[in-house]
């Protein structure tokens, strides 16, 4: 449905996105995950026809975003990060205007406006001024606007940002139900959101895609890795770290208040070696506790500037 190849975009000399490629299947919900400033919004703006790329090519439903921008915009529903609203409009007029801009008119238009307002649960607020709505309601109106022309692709930029937990859940629920039948690309920096909603995750950092897979596979990727913490009596955590770091299969060591956290990766589990090394130093090993790997770890791991070293203070 969405095909992106080698997309690059500069702001002046700053490279906002750098040679991005990915594609999505029809009906998929794809999560676009990355820290702020990673290039999520830029990519989305290119896909919605807001701005052209400097290099590369992107097509939506077979239409080129640059060459056939108008056709692309007919296929795409877009919810920008801050929902742009005409403050002086009522909810109905606002969605109605968007429907008209998408070429609808007459009864077909008013039926559809009523339908989408019903879908997002805003039909009883149709006459309210957009100005007077809460953030969560504005988000719903934004969604209604994005859906009004029955797009094949829905692009949602941080759809749950700034909402309270209850609203977040409502909006997520909406996306899940509304997303049926169309391809959804949503950006977020909230990990639980993608694992709940998306069938596939694209992790983007510093303008580049650093990982692309399903939430399950991404978690599996880290399976060989074990993270555990060690508490030792008779030695300062810094000394323990020094000893442990020299061992095979230990990839990272973080200092904790009363011990060290160790990331082990490689063919063998590093735990026996760590225990042996500590005993050999005649320190007392009082605790060894394993900690699971979550999507959060994967995300941090992939989007870190440099691997955290043992010099980092907690």
């Amino acid at each position: 449905m969405i095909q992106v190849e080698g997309l690059t975009r500069f702001y002046g000399s700053y490279k906002a996105i750098d040679n991005i490629s990915f594609h999505t299947e029809p009906g998929e919900i794809v999560g676009f995950l990355g820290p702020n400033g990673a290039g999520k919004t830029t990519t989305m703006r290119i896909l919605t026809g807001y701005m052209p790329p400097n290099e590369g090519k992107a097509t939506i439903a077979g239409y080129d975003v640059f060459e056939q921008s108008l056709d692309v915009r007919r296929q795409v529903g877009y919810l920008p990060e801050t929902v742009p609203l005409y403050r002086e409009s009522s909810v109905w007029d606002y969605v109605d205007y968007m429907a008209a801009l998408h070429g609808m008119s007459g009864k077909k238009k008013s039926d559809r406006v009523g339908e989408v307002l019903e879908m997002v649960g805003m039909i009883d607020r149709a006459d309210s001024m957009v100005e007077s709505l809460s953030k969560g309601m504005r988000q719903r109106v934004g969604l209604a606007q994005a859906l009004v022309h029955s797009p094949k692709v829905l692009i949602l930029d941080e759809p749950t940002i700034g909402l309270d937990p209850r609203q977040v859940r409502e909006v997520r629920e909406l996306i899940r139900t509304l997303g049926e039948g169309c391809t959804v690309l949503l950006s977020t920096h909230i990990l639980s959101e993608v694992s709940q909603l998306c069938s596939r995750i694209l992790i983007i950092n510093k303008g580049q895609i650093v990982a692309e897979d399903s939430p399950e596979t991404l978690s599996k990727r880290m399976e060989g890795a074990i993270r555990f913490s060690v508490r030792v009596r008779g030695a300062a955590p810094a000394d323990v770290a020094k000893v442990v770091k020299a061992l095979k299969n230990v990839s990272e060591v973080h200092l904790l208040d009363d011990g060290v956290e160790i990331m082990s990766r490689g063919e063998d589990d590093a735990r026996p070696a760590v225990a042996a090394a500590i005993v050999k130093k005649s320190w007392d090993l009082i605790e060894m506790k394993s900690a699971g790997m979550s999507l959060e770890d994967i995300f941090l791991e992939l989007t870190q500037d440099e691997p955290v070293s043992d010099e980092e203070e907690n």
Binding site: R73, V76, P84, E88, L101
Partner: protein, 251 residues
């Protein structure tokens, strides 16, 4: 054919939206009051004091005043919001991702502002009716007067739309439009001090002032004047579209 139908649809949709938006804010009523206040003051002044009730000079005097001194303020005030406000509030993102062309946005908005000024011009139609009631003015001349005023409204508004595309700050947009209109109207003064005849003529021809005299004083619809109006309007609408489109690259 489909392209044309779509463009007309889009122009109509944008026109309707913008036209309705005008009447939500109090600004348009204030501008209307200014328009009616100034024009009736000048009309009465010309009618009573200068012309002893003669209709032709009264009309051309009123029109000349409206199309320069009053429009210089009214047109920028009408248009300053049009594009600046969209950029300031981020709603241009909706327009940029809707299946409408950039020129349709610009022209639709311009037509809406012209639509409001058309209402203003129709209100001043009362002066024509008054003169017809009191005397026996040449109806052709009267019509030419109104046609001229209406056309000049359209042209000055394109300058305002262009200024509005430049910045997200409405006041800045107002000032730029005001400056441009001032220059466009009074540029003919410069032609007096240019020794080179050809250059002097060109500068003279650029002035908005020079293309309204025949319409207002003689009631002559000269195609050269009409061409000037259409040309000027096209240039400024084209520039506004280019500036608006360039935001896609800059933002």
């Amino acid at each position: 054919m489909q392209t044309l139908t779509r463009s007309l649809h889009n122009l109509w949709v944008i026109f309707k939206h913008e036209f309705a938006l005008y009447f939500i804010s109090p600004v348009v009523y204030i501008l209307g009051a200014v328009w009616v206040g100034f024009s009736s003051f000048i009309f009465i002044l010309y009618f009573n004091q200068f012309n002893q009730g003669m209709s032709e000079p009264t009309m051309s005097g009123t029109m000349g005043f409206l199309s320069t001194w009053v429009l210089m303020f009214i047109a920028p005030a009408m248009t300053m919001r049009l594009i600046s406000e969209e950029i300031n509030s981020g709603t241009h993102e909706l327009l940029f991702t809707a299946p409408v062309r950039d020129w349709e946005i610009v022209v639709g908005k311009w037509l809406a502002s012209w639509g409001v000024l058309t209402v203003f011009v129709l209100i001043t139609g009362l002066y024509g009716l008054f003169l017809t009631w009191r005397g026996n003015p040449d109806p052709g001349l009267l019509l030419a007067n109104y046609l001229g005023l209406w056309l000049i409204c359209g042209v000055t508004l394109t300058v305002g739309v262009f200024a509005s595309s430049l910045t997200k700050y409405q006041i800045a947009s107002f000032l730029v439009a005001f400056g441009l209109l001032f220059a466009l109207i009074f540029i003919y003064y410069i032609s007096y001090v240019i020794p080179n005849q050809t250059l002097s003529d060109i500068v003279n021809q650029l002035s908005l002032q020079n293309h309204q005299n025949k319409l207002f004083r003689e009631g002559v619809v000269d195609w050269a004047d009409i061409a000037y109006f259409v040309g000027m309007a096209s240039v400024f609408l084209f520039l506004a579209t280019q500036v608006l489109s360039s935001r896609r690259w800059r933002s």
